[in-house]
Subunit: 205 residues, 2 copies
C-alpha cells in the first residue's frame, strides 16, 4: 500500500478538494496542517523542501511530491481507480472541467472570497467588481450546464471534476455570494455522497 | 487516420498552443478561423453546435468535440505519442505545470495583454495593477524554476507544458512587458524546435 501524506491548510479549498477525494475514495493517508501565517522559510520539514514554492496542498506518495490540486486529483483518481474518467470520452469531459475550474471559477471565487474574508478593508472596488463579473459569468455557465438535469458535471456519476468545482462553493457565505438553484441542488447531491463532509467540519478533524 | 479539424482564432494564444502541437507533432488536420467579432449565435456550423459556449479553440476529432486548450493538448499528446509525459514521474510534473498555467500565467498574461491591446482606454488602473502583480509573481517563479539550467520546464525534453506556458509570451510586446533572461533563453530554445513558428506567422497561414 502506498504511504501517503497530505500537507494542507484548513482555509484552503484546494486542500479541501484533495482531502475529500482521499476520504471519499477510502485512501489511507496522514494529514499535516501547515500554518500559512508562518514565513515560508520557517515552515516545517519535509514540507519546506518538497513544496518548492511553499504552497498547499502538497501530497507526498512513497516519497514523491505532487502539487497543484487538480493534478493531485488526477493522480489519486488513477491510483484509486475511482472518481476518474473510466472511459476516453468521460476522461476528456472531466479534464475539460478541471482546466476550466483552474482558469475560471477556481480563480474568481477563491480570490473574491479571499478579498472579503482576509483582506483588511477589502479589495479595491474595481478589482472586486472585476472578480465579481468573472464569478457571475462562471456561475451562470455552470447553472446553464446543469440545466439539463444530469446529476453531476460529466454525467450521472460523480468525478473529481465535481469535487474540484464545488470546493469553494460550500463557503459561498464567506464570499457573500448567492448560488442559483441548479448549482445549489448539485451541491446537495455531492454532499449526499458517502464520506462527504463540509469544509468547516473537515477543518476541525 | 483520425480526421481532425481545429477551429480557432489568430489572436488567441490558446488556439496557437494547439496549432503548434499539431504542426510540431506532424498531426494532419484542417484549420478553420472563427471570427470572434461575430455574435456567438451567428458563428458558422458545426462550430456553433459543437463549441457549446462558442469559445476557441475547439478540436473535432472523428466527430468528437474537445475544448479547453490544455485538455486538448493532453488528448493530442496521448494520440500522437509525443510531447507528453512518457513516464509517470514526467507526466505528474507536466500536469502540474499545465494546471499552474491555467490558473496563473495563462490567466494573468492573456488578460493583461487583452486590456492593453483590445480594451479602448485600457483597463481600470487598479485591475491592471492587480493583473500586473500576478504576472510579475508568475514570471518570477518561472525564472526561478529555469535557473537550474534545464532546457525545458519538465527536464531536457520539451513537452506540451512548454507549449502551453510559452504561447502568450511570444506576444509579450503586445502586453508591453519585459521578460527576464532565463525565460527569454527558454523561449529561444522552444523556438528552435523543428516545426515551431511565431504566432504572428501562424496567424497568416
Amino acid at each position: 500500500m502506498a504511504r501517503i501524506t497530505l500537507f494542507g491548510n484548513r482555509e484552503s479549498g484546494h486542500t479541501y478538494k484533495v482531502r475529500m477525494l482521499l476520504t471519499m475514495a477510502g485512501i489511507g493517508h496522514d494529514y499535516t496542517e501547515i500554518n500559512l501565517k508562518q514565513p515560508r522559510e520557517q515552515r516545517p520539514e519535509p514540507f519546506r523542501s518538497l513544496a518548492k514554492f511553499g504552497e498547499v496542498p502538497l501530497l507526498v506518495m512513497d516519497g514523491q511530491p505532487y502539487v497543484q490540486s487538480n493534478a493531485i486529483l488526477l493522480h489519486l483518481a488513477e491510483h484509486a481507480g475511482c472518481f476518474g474518467g473510466e472511459s476516453p470520452e468521460r476522461l476528456a469531459r472531466m479534464r475539460e472541467w478541471l482546466f476550466w475550474e483552474a482558469n475560471r471559477i477556481g480563480f474568481s471565487l477563491p480570490n473574491f472570497r479571499y478579498g472579503r474574508r482576509f483582506v483588511a478593508g477589502g479589495l479595491d472596488p474595481a478589482v472586486e467588481a472585476f472578480l465579481r463579473a468573472r464569478f457571475d459569468a462562471d456561475i451562470a455557465r455552470l447553472e446553464h450546464e446543469l440545466a439539463d438535469g444530469r446529476a453531476f458535471i460529466v454525467d450521472d456519476q460523480p468525478t473529481i471534476a465535481d469535487l474540484a468545482l464545488s470546493a469553494y462553493m460550500y463557503w459561498s457565505e464567506q464570499a457573500l455570494v448567492q448560488l442559483p438553484p441548479g448549482v445549489t441542488a448539485w451541491l446537495v447531491r455531492i454532499a449526499e455522497l458517502p464520506g462527504w463532509c463540509h469544509p468547516d467540519a473537515m477543518a476541525t478533524q
